[in-house]
Symmetry: C2
Subunit: 470 residues, 2 copies
């Protein structure tokens, strides 16, 4: 509750509401009073409370609250399966029918096939059509996450008619902040901001309120292609049209939050070397499956690097000290490559780059790589020179020759790594392979190879051939 001091953290506060709900349910109130009291709470908190009740208590709550509220509560459950299974199929179908179409599909997806079939069979025609429509899209298409829960009015209505149509439809559809206007063929005509309708005078023409050139997305667009545009409009909802301009559904801001979270979560996971995002409750086997592909790819690419290192065995045999700094040169090249990769991926996701912009990014990454490389090289030169002189008992000249070789390798490897880390994702993006997945292993390998060849090559030519160290 507000007002009890500063030390309310997330768990405490949430627990409070959930705790209160539980106390109300346990208090054995008559149904009407129970419903009245629970209506003060948010469906998300009610959903949290639901998960800790006994099945009998849940039945009591379902009966008290009615199907509409239960549907909303179910939309907030992470996994609706166990709760849907507690309802008989007919009642479950009614709950599903009252959910937003995208939530309904999510909930049905949680079920096993035959449970799902039983419920779908019982859905009323409208809900069944909606579910069928949404299931007809691929998971990566925007149509798969729209809802048909919106207010739709005809363009030839008066303001008064529109207002009463709103009141009529608001009972069933709660995304009311934007009203969608269609023409006689159900084609999208424009949108009205509810605020404008509310402050309009009854004698005004509805047409004047309609924003004709309203932003929209089309149902088969890839989510990753349009998510950024959707975010840019920062609207409470955007219409989803088919190719001929018919209004099919809307994307709400809550959907957008979810989509942004998913998209970025996946990008994040991919940068971390997972094929897709993992969550806490996943089994070991599933986790292994998500992580193994990259590891196997890297193992074989690593063998390639090994065979190249193998070519320099003679250098190492003569001058074993050079191996000390191999890991450092390779690590730095790898880190710089990852930095460039991370920057490039976000830029590719966020913007539609022209060739000029790409070249500009490349040029910038190169300069960043050079600057960082030069700074680190100077540091390495100084510190390693001293280290080699004092701890490895080399003369000052030889020590600085060795550390100079590391320094030069660092600069060269870091500049090339920056370029590789920028070019590779761009190339994958160009040929429509997800750069976030494919780039990592390739960049690591190329950078390792470059670093190994530069470092040992330099050691062989400069240290051994020219200065006869070892």
């Amino acid at each position: 509750m507000p007002g009890n001091g500063k030390r309310r953290d997330q768990t405490m506060q949430k627990k409070n509401y959930v705790q209160e709900i539980l106390e109300i349910i346990h208090s054995g109130l008559p149904q009407a009073e129970l419903a009245e009291k629970l209506s003060d709470y948010h469906e998300n908190d009610l959903a949290d409370a639901l998960t800790v009740l006994t099945p009998e208590e849940r039945q009591k709550v379902y009966t008290a609250l009615g199907v509409d509220t239960v549907a909303e509560i179910f939309s907030y459950l992470d996994d609706a399966e166990p709760y849907l299974k507690e309802l008989d199929p007919e009642r479950a179908a009614r709950v599903i029918s009252h959910m937003d179409s995208d939530d309904a599909v999510d909930a049905l997806d949680d079920l096993e096939e035959d449970d799902k079939a039983k419920i779908v069979h019982q859905l009323d025609k409208d809900a069944a059509d909606d579910v069928k429509l949404l299931l007809s899209y691929n998971e990566d298409e925007i149509g798969s996450c729209m809802t048909t829960n919106y207010i739709c009015i005809r363009r030839d209505m008066t303001i008064r008619q529109a207002m009463s149509e709103l009141v009529k439809q608001a009972g069933e559809n709660d995304n009311i902040s934007t009203l969608y206007v269609v023409d006689e063929n159900e084609h999208f005509y424009g949108a009205i901001d509810l605020k404008d309708l509310i402050v309009a005078r009854a004698e005004e023409r509805l047409e004047k309120l309609i924003a004709r050139s309203y932003p929209y997305v089309t149902d088969h667009e890839k989510i990753s292609d349009c998510i950024d545009r959707i975010v840019d409009y920062a609207e409470r909802s955007l219409p989803v049209l088919n190719d001929s301009g018919k209004l099919l559904g809307i994307i709400t801001s809550a959907d957008v939050v979810e989509l942004v979270d998913d998209e970025m979560g996946d990008d994040y996971a991919k940068l971390g070397g997972l094929t897709s995002e993992e969550d806490l409750n996943e089994g070991v086997f599933q986790s292994v499956k998500k992580r193994l592909p990259w590891l196997i790819a890297l193992l074989f690419l690593g063998m390639l690097v090994s065979s190249v290192v193998g070519a320099f065995e003679s250098v190492v045999a003569v001058l074993p000290i050079v191996i000390c700094f191999q890991s450092m040169v390779l690590d730095m090249a790898g880190n710089v490559g990852t930095q460039s990769l991370a920057v490039t991926i976000r830029v590719l996701v966020d913007e539609n780059l022209t060739t000029a912009k790409k070249l500009q990014l490349l040029w910038k990454e190169m300069r960043v790589g050079l600057t960082n490389g030069a700074l680190l090289a100077v540091l390495a030169l100084g510190f390693l020179g001293c280290y080699i002189h004092f701890f490895k008992a080399y003369a000052w000249g030889e020590a600085f020759l060795l550390s100079g070789c590391v320094g030069v390798s660092l600069v060269v490897a870091m500049v090339i790594s920056s370029l590789v880390g920028t070019v590779i994702p761009m190339l994958f993006h160009k040929i429509h392979i997800d750069p976030a997945v494919a780039s990592g292993p390739l960049i690591t390998t190329i950078n390792d190879l470059v670093a190994v060849v530069v470092y040992y090559g330099l050691a062989a030519v400069v240290l051994i051939d020219m200065f006869h160290l070892g």
Copy 2:
């Protein structure tokens, strides 16, 4: 426009609207007609058009559209500075006053100090108070991104009064889907879903519509602490209260999208070894600054690894072939560690983990590491054995002793890396250091150290001491 075939991609479509807007502006229509036509377009598209107009054309647009629409358009600009500077301070102040408070603060932040001061000086008292309030919060506090643009009604109103209050306030405040109810002391009392108010009959009691236990956040909460809770409620807006329960502002769903995007973008950047997210237009110097800290840390930690590798110089001198596989063992350990890190960071961000859950995660990561390690070890054993036999001319027995040594090192290094990649971020999280920043370098170093010691140690003991290879 809808209906012109499937090949409408993002740029094309956006260009269309922006192109249309430009044509309208260039057509030299009289002001009233211009305003009428432009009102059909979304402010985001108008903002895009604005950026390609000449200053004179922009002045024409500003005059035609009026300060309210201009304020909305300015909210959509990435950088409002050049456009605000084109207005005289008095007019700029009026535009700023009409913006949502958080957008207003963002726009003012784009300006240089003396321009800002001039405008702030001209703000009306309400807007000035709002701006001052928002600026009083740290950037990472939720109060800094709220808006005071919301509908607020008193609990003792009738439904009819509430409705006319809504109509009155809707002109100035366009976040109308939730009405916020306060008591006589302006303390937050509850929220009303606009939908419920619209379908309610005039004789009902307002009290019945109010959700009393409505979710809220407090102004000084850290964004990273409450963003997940806010997302969970999936509301169009949530109230922001101060510690005594006074209603200060709201967080809209558009704010939430932005916050989620920022939070995840930062996490992403940190996993990539940047101190914070970079964007395309940043200069080389700024990029260097964001990337150098981690690189320097890694350089010095790398020196530590180097000195440990140095301890095994004698092994390498006797058996130079072992260096071939060093990079592979270290890379694999690094990759596994990064995977565990990526998973752990997301889990730490998303959930409030109990100790039991943490141990469970740790146990799972260990088993995943062991499974992946065992699988990869078998692959490495087979392939490397053959490689060493055929390309390095070792006898079969010796070849498999060598590859066996790599295999065992892989298993051990991968299990330990999984653990390190899980435990380190948990520890940092515990002591309230951002695990996304601090974990990377430390995990890399520890894993490198472990891998080096295990691999060369094994080579020294098994290959050289026991089997006298080399």
